[in-house]
């Protein structure tokens, strides 16, 4: 415990013995005994079944939830001490189905944070173009003036990633961003995002229930079971861990024929 709290200087995000229960009712514990740090530039994948507490951990990082016990440090400062608006402006957030604003065009969606931060129009337009190119989308007006309903699921999710990166936040939180896509598009986005993540050097926390996705993207995998961390390892080590929940996940890999060992 103590060694962890000392090491916050290297870690961009740090969980120190965090517990969270709904409405402070101890019986409704969602996560407990959570301690880990995420160093600069790491892609940490939170893996677990539905309801294991993955999303709760994400929401504890950007201050949408506050720990019932312990503390979450972001850039060395507890989330309870941050102004929640400032904290979140420095953290990109991508969710399943992207959560794009349906009444905004593609360009307006991507430009949201720059607009809120009152960037001048020229800089914002240039940034939108740059970002759309970065996520592999057409940056011409014909495309950027479309509304989300006119896009495919894959395009929407790319816009979601571009929007999250708009103000160049050091941290990116991603909550099952690709899980609602068809398998082909999903694989495409996973590959591209993996390359993009390496290139950008962001600190990324990525939530998924898909071990294959975790192995592809993670520099470290943290496995959650019923609100507790049961394993934490690099992708290479992870496959050889001897824990029933790890085995449950690795055996899910071998079901698909032709899956990578």
């Amino acid at each position: 415990m103590n060694t962890k709290t000392v090491s916050f200087r290297e870690n961009l995000i740090e969980f120190c013995d965090v517990e969270y229960h709904i409405n402070d009712i101890p019986a409704r514990i969602i996560v407990s005994g959570i301690s880990f740090g995420i160093p600069h530039g790491e892609t940490l994948v939170l893996l677990g079944r539905s309801g294991s507490g993955k999303t709760t951990l994400l929401r504890l990082i950007n201050g949408m939830l506050m720990p019932s016990r312990g503390q979450v440090l972001v850039q060395g400062r507890a989330t309870t001490d941050w102004d929640p608006i400032r904290l979140r402006r420095g953290i990109g957030y991508v969710i399943q189905d992207a959560g794009l604003f349906p009444h905004f065009t593609v360009a307006e969606n991507v430009a949201l944070i720059p607009t809120l931060e009152k960037w001048d129009a020229l800089r914002t337009t240039a940034r939108v173009k740059e970002l759309l190119a970065l996520v592999g989308l057409d940056a011409r007006a014909r495309f950027t003036s479309r509304h989300p309903r006119e896009l495919s699921g894959g395009q929407r999710q790319r816009v979601g990633v571009a929007r999250a990166l708009a103000a160049d936040p050091p941290i990116l939180l991603m909550d099952e961003p690709f899980s609602a896509l068809d398998p082909v598009t999903r694989a495409e986005l996973q590959r591209e995002f993996s390359a993009l993540a390496r290139r950008l050097g962001k600190t990324i926390v990525f939530v998924t229930h898909d071990l294959r996705e975790a192995l592809l993207l993670a520099s470290r995998i943290v496995l959650l079971e019923a609100g507790r961390i049961v394993a934490s390892a690099t992708p290479q080590e992870f496959l050889h861990l001897d824990h029933p929940e790890v085995r449950a996940f690795t055996s899910s890999l071998s079901i698909a024929p032709g899956a990578p060992a």
């Binding site: 949408m64 969710i95 399943q96 604003f101």
Partner: protein, 218 residues
């Protein structure tokens, strides 16, 4: 010649002879509706936005607005007459009653529109560091606008109809013809009030429906 044809042609002569009167009553009617609707919107929409932030007030506000809707319109006009300041005989009392009627659809649709937004969109807005005010004005309100307008449309149709009864307390408008027609057992007089009122309602419904479709997103 049969009686129906005589009746119809005499109605037509009646409309032709009294067209100036009918026209000015229609304008009076329209003025009554527009003033009442403007006040109802100015109260209903902000109140709806307010109760989204205060769930405790929601039940009370929607409850009171519903009660006014259940009072028969003629009775509501009657109840208001003895009340000082807002009551009495004439347009002012009529407008108060019409506002009370129009309030519920506007208030309810504002509330429903603002709360019925895709939770993923609201979650993204919050997570991106938008303030509560920014979420309300830039996300909730624009997305609720079509639903709010649907409420305004319903309220306008109701108000055009109920406003004919306002003539009973001396507020003027198209109801004057209808009440006079009922008293004199004259179909021509009743139709001189009812047809323009129905046309007003149809036109208002069409125009507001047009705007509503333009505002609808996703």
């Amino acid at each position: 010649m049969n009686a129906a044809v005589i009746q119809l042609s005499s109605d037509w002569t009646f409309f032709a002879e009294h067209r100036a009167e009918i026209f000015s009553a229609t304008l009076d009617h329209l003025a009554l509706v527009l003033i009442a609707m403007a006040i109802a919107i100015l109260i209903g929409v902000p109140l709806g936005m307010f109760i989204v932030q205060r769930p405790a007030l929601r039940t009370i506000a929607l409850g009171i607005a519903s009660i006014f809707q259940t009072i028969p319109s003629l009775a509501l006009f009657g109840f208001l007459i003895p009340i000082p300041f807002i009551g009495g005989i004439g347009k002012r009392t009529a407008i108060v009653a019409l506002v009370l009627y129009a309030l519920l659809p506007i208030l309810r649709n504002t509330y429903v529109g603002l709360t019925g937004i895709d939770p993923a969109v609201l979650e993204a807005a919050e997570a991106m560091g938008m303030t509560r005010a920014q979420i309300l004005w830039r996300v909730r309100f624009p997305l609720a606008l079509a639903v709010i307008l649907a409420g305004i449309r319903t309220a306008t149709i109701i108000t055009i109809g109920v406003a004919t009864i306002a003539a009973a307390i001396g507020a003027g408008g198209l109801g004057t013809f209808i009440f006079r027609g009922v008293a004199l057992v004259s179909d021509a007089l009743i139709l001189a009030g009812a047809i323009p009122a129905a046309l007003l309602a149809l036109i208002a419904d069409f125009l507001l429906g047009l705007i509503e479709r333009r505002l609808r997103v996703a």
